[in-house]
Symmetry: C2
C-alpha cells in the first residue's frame, strides 16, 4: 500500500496526493460492506456440526425431558448450568430464551411498560416521560427500542472505564422517571471498553429515585476476548445483591456470536425475584422455547471448557482482523492528530473518532468508493451524533484482504474529509 | 369393560353400581394426565429425521442466504411459499416467526397496545376499556393474554357453525372499544367445529365501530384432519379483501402439531399492509428468526404435498384415539341424557358437556382417581364457566389403552357427579 499520510508541511501537495488516491480507489470499484457486526463465514464454519445435531435418536435431556414436545419454559437445566458458569449467576436464576437476546430485552421493556417490573410497581406507561440513560456512543438497537416505545433517552458520556458515573448517579438519583440504563459492560459497543470494578460497584450501590430502576446489562461479549489474558468484568448480580439492590440488574447474553448468529441461544439472568417476574409474564407468551436447539448446544459445548475452547478459535480468526485495521489506520492516520481509534481487547467493533463535523462526510465519501459503513450517528439516540465525529468500524465479517482495502479507504476518506473542511472545497 | 350405564329404572341399584365401580377405579391406582393438547411421542417420532437436519454441509437457502448468520426477518422465501399453499395466502403476505404462534399473537397484542395497529390508529392502551370478543368455550391461552394485559373480555356463545354472529355483529358494530375477537376457525378449541362459509363471510362483511378492529384467526389446526374428506375453511384474507376490510384479519398457524411441538415453526399472515406494520414493529425486537430451523423444515417437507402426506400419518395415529373416547362415552353415557360430547373431524380436543353445576365435581372426582383433566372452566374467560358444565378432553398424548381407562373414569365420574347432585350425597 502506498503511504498517503497526513502531511502538514506541504498542504497543497497533501491535498493533491490524497485526492489522487481517492480517485484511484473510486476507479478500483470496491464493494465491501462493513456496516454490521456479523460473524464471518469462517467463524460459522467452526460449529457446522450443529447442522446435524443432536442426531436422529437424541432428544432426551438429562432429566428425561422429551425436547421435541412442549414445556420447560425456563430451559434445560444442563444448559442453564453452562450459562451459569459463563456468567457467574446461579442456574435457577438463568432463563433460556429463543435465538435473540435483543428479543428478550424488548420483551422486558414491553412487560415493564404494560405490567411494571416486580410485584407491585406500576406499569411504566403510567409514568409520564419515562426515561432511560443512554451511554454514548452505544448500541443503536438499544436506543431504537426506546425510540419505538416512546421512552425518553438521556445521553450520558461513555468514558474509558464505563459510563460517566457522576452523571449516572445524579440523573438516576433525582428523577423517578428515570427507569433504566442500557449497558454493554464488556467490550462496549462500539468503544470496546470494559466497565471497571469501581464502576460496577457504583452501579450496584447508587441510590435511584425510581424504586423500579433496572440496569439492562447486555453482556453480549462475555467470552469474546481478542487476547489471551482478557480483562475480567465484575459480577453485577452479586454486587447488587450485596448492596441490597438484588432486583436492579437484568442480564442478557447469547450464543449469537459463539455458534450461529441466526440460530443460537439467548439468555436472561437476574435475581430470583426478577426471574419469577419474567417467567410469570412470559407464561402468557409461550409454552416454552426451542429445547431441541438447547440440546444441540449442550451436545456441541459439552461443558463450559468446551465453550471457552471454541472461543479461542474465534479469537484466532478475529484478532488478525482487528490488528489489520489498526495497522492501516496507524500507517495512514497515526500521529496526524486528525483521528483516534480504539484498540479493543474483545468484542466486535472499533470506534473511530474523526474531527468534529466530519463523520457523516467520511461515511458518504466511503459510500462513493463502494464501502458501506454503519451510518454516522448510529451509536447515538435518534442517530444524531451531536459532534458528528464518531464512526463504528465492524471488522469481523469481511476477509483480512478486504479489510485492508476498506480500512485504507476509510483512512483516505478521513483525510479527504478533513482537507475538505479546511479548504472548504469538496472532493466531489 | 363392564358396562356401568345410566340406569333410570332402578336409581338405588344404579347408585350402588356406579359407586362400586368408582371405588374399583380408585383402587386401580391410575395415573393418567390428559390435561393438555400435546402430541404423542409416536407423532414426534414421525419426524425424527429433523434431529439430524439440515446436515453438516447444508446451510444455504435457495437464494444463497447463509442460514447460519443474521438477517432475513420475514423468513426464507421457499418456506413462506410452502405456508402460502397451506393457508391460501400469498407468500409476500406470510411472515415466519420463531417456534410459537402464541408468541406471535402475544406480540401483535402488545404492539397494538403500545403502538396501535396500522399506520394511524392510536395505541390500544389509550382506549379506555378496550375489549375482545371471546367465543366460549374457547382456548384458555387466548383469554389469558387478555387477562394478563388488561383487555376486557366479552363472552359470545359458540354455535355449531362458529360464534353467534348476531351477537358478534351487534357487539363489534356498536362499541368502538371492541378491538378484536379470538377465533380458532377450523376444529375450534375445544368444540371441534369448523366455521361455516357464511360465518366467514359475515366476519369479512360486518361493520365494526372500531376502524382498527382485528380478527385473531388462530388457524392452529389448518391441516389437522381426522377424516379423509375434511371440511374446507373459507379464506378469511380473501373474503376481507373482497369486502374492503383487507386489514381486518391476523392469521396465525404453526407446525407445533405437524413437526415438533417445542421446536417447530410459527407463522403470521395477513394483508400486505398488516405485514408491513408487523415487520416494522418487529424490527426493533429481532434481527431475524432461526433460519436453520426454517431450512430444516424445508428439507423435511420438500413441498406442500410432503406436508400433507405427513398429516396423513398423524391422522392414522390420532383418529383411533378420538374413536376410542367416543366408543367408551357412548357405551357408558349414550342415551343417558346426562352428557353430550363432540365428534370432531379434526383438531386436538373433544368437548364434553355434563349437567349444569357438575363439571368441577367431575374433574375433582377424576383427580381422585389419578386422572388429570383440563380444569373445568378453563375454556372460559377467567376460568369461569357460568354453567359449570364444560370439560375439555385432550385425547392425543396418551395411548389408546390409557385413553380407554381415562374415558371410562371420566364417564363414571360423570355418572357419580350427576347422582350426587340428585341425591345430595357425596361419594367422598
Amino acid at each position: 500500500m502506498e503511504l498517503i499520510r497526513w502531511n502538514s508541511v506541504d498542504p497543497v501537495a497533501h491535498r493533491k496526493q490524497i485526492r489522487e488516491r481517492y480517485d484511484e480507489l473510486r476507479k478500483a470499484g470496491l464493494k465491501i460492506n462493513m456496516a454490521r457486526g456479523l460473524p464471518s463465514p469462517e467463524q460459522l464454519d467452526l460449529v457446522d456440526e450443529l447442522l446435524a445435531m443432536p442426531g436422529r435418536t437424541d432428544y432426551l435431556a438429562a432429566d428425561r425431558t422429551d425436547c421435541r414436545n412442549y414445556g420447560n419454559p425456563q430451559g434445560l437445566a444442563e444448559l442453564r448450568g453452562l450459562f451459569s458458569g459463563m456468567l457467574g449467576i446461579a442456574p435457577n436464576q438463568v432463563v433460556i430464551g429463543e435465538n435473540s437476546s435483543l428479543s428478550l430485552m424488548h420483551e422486558c421493556v414491553t412487560y415493564a411498560l404494560l405490567k411494571g417490573v416486580g410485584d407491585s410497581s406500576p406499569p411504566w406507561v403510567k409514568t409520564a416521560d419515562a426515561a432511560f440513560l443512554c451511554p454514548v456512543p452505544g448500541y443503536d438497537r438499544h436506543f431504537a427500542i426506546c425510540q419505538e416505545l416512546g421512552i425518553r433517552m438521556i445521553p450520558v458520556p461513555m468514558l474509558d472505564d464505563g459510563p460517566d458515573m457522576d452523571q449516572v448517579e445524579s440523573l438516576a438519583g433525582k428523577d423517578p422517571a428515570v427507569k433504566g440504563i442500557w449497558c454493554v459492560p464488556k467490550y462496549s459497543n462500539p468503544t470496546g471498553i470494559v466497565y471497571a470494578d469501581r464502576v460496577v460497584e457504583r452501579f450496584a450501590a447508587m441510590n435511584t429515585a425510581a424504586a423500579d430502576f433496572r440496569i439492562f446489562w447486555d453482556n453480549a461479549y462475555a467470552v469474546h476476548d481478542l487476547t489471551e489474558d482478557p480483562p475480567q468484568l465484575a459480577n453485577i448480580v452479586d454486587a447488587c445483591l450485596r448492596h441490597g439492590h438484588a432486583d436492579r440488574p437484568f442480564v442478557f447474553a447469547s450464543t449469537s456470536k459463539i455458534t450461529f448468529a441466526g440460530a443460537g441461544i439467548a439468555v436472561f439472568a437476574s435475581s430470583e425475584g426478577n426471574v419469577a417476574w419474567f417467567m410469570k409474564r412470559r407464561q402468557y407468551r409461550t409454552i416454552g422455547p426451542d429445547k431441541v436447539n438447547q440440546l444441540r448446544h449442550i451436545r456441541l459445548f459439552r461443558d463450559e471448557a468446551g465453550l471457552r475452547a471454541l472461543m479461542a478459535h474465534h479469537r484466532a480468526i478475529l484478532a488478525p482482523k482487528f490488528t489489520k485495521v489498526h495497522e492501516v489506520f496507524e500507517a495512514l492516520l497515526g500521529g496526524s492528530g486528525v483521528a483516534k481509534w480504539t484498540q479493543p481487547k474483545g468484542g466486535y467493533f472499533i470506534s473511530l473518532d474523526v474531527p468534529d463535523g466530519c463523520a457523516r462526510r467520511v461515511v458518504e465519501l466511503a459510500r462513493q468508493l463502494g464501502i458501506t459503513l454503519t451510518p454516522a450517528g448510529a451509536p447515538f439516540p435518534f442517530g444524531q451524533d451531536p459532534r458528528d465525529r464518531n464512526i463504528r468500524i465492524a471488522p469481523t465479517f469481511i476477509s483480512v484482504e478486504d479489510l485492508a482495502k476498506a480500512a485504507e479507504a476509510v483512512a483516505v476518506c478521513t483525510l479527504v474529509a478533513v482537507d475538505e473542511s479546511v479548504s472548504k472545497e469538496r472532493c466531489l
